[in-house]
Symmetry: C2
Subunit: 105 residues, 2 copies
DNA sequence: TTGATATATTGATGTTTGTCAATATATCAA
DNA sequence: TTGATATATTGACAAACATCAATATATCAA
């Protein structure tokens, strides 16, 4: 007879691979220092809405790089942007954030 | 005179690049579907401690791959492992988790 | 329309990542 | 000691990623 298994056989992954992939995408979006700073700049602005135009100076990355990171945060639905004239104003998607918080609690 | 800037000049990044890098590492650790499943398997086990030996079967990845992912979760201090004989029992580092939760709140 | 500014896209490049096979190390049982 | 099992490390490789220069698109002002 084999040695008893160390783990209960009935333990299962609590979500599907697709669900895990979707949620992992949200965490991965925050998994880069520049994006984490972008996110906090957007989240913690007193006015709750920030335009993208200052990020290049503040984060010392080229404009295409900032644009690329904002896209990743948008695609993870952590932020949303509204175009007003030439500028885009960003704000945090509080619902997506709640889902992440719920996962961690 | 130039057009008024769209953003308040006094807005600053709320943490240093090193801090952002460290926290980003934690998010990045959760930013992969396999690691997210590993983490939930460890976090949600009723006994609060899980041995690594079943992960290969459950997650359908090779043993070196699972070992690699567990190392990344360990280095992000999201989990901790205790060796008991041949097996390693994993549990969640609740303090690291609190810090992440605090950031998101 | 023309010039200036904000943002997006494309293409290129070096780096990092996820994965596995092969191998190594550690522990236990016989 | 020998064999079996759990985990770690190494080396290799393809895919994904972060970055920038160049260019494109969109909007506003003159």
């Amino acid at each position: 007879m084999a040695i008893a298994a160390c783990c209960s056989p009935e333990s299962t992954t609590p979500f599907t691979h697709d669900d895990a992939t979707r949620l992992a995408k949200v965490f991965a979006a925050l998994g880069d220092p520049i994006r984490l700073k972008l996110f906090t700049l957007i989240a913690r602005d007193p006015s709750q809405e920030v335009c993208a135009c200052s990020f290049v100076d503040e984060l010392q990355r080229s404009q295409p790089t900032i644009s690329h990171h904002l896209k990743i945060l948008r695609e993870a639905e952590l932020i949303a942007g509204t175009k007003r004239g030439t500028w885009i104003w960003y704000s945090v998607n509080t619902q997506a954030l709640s889902e992440v918080r719920e996962f961690l609690s």
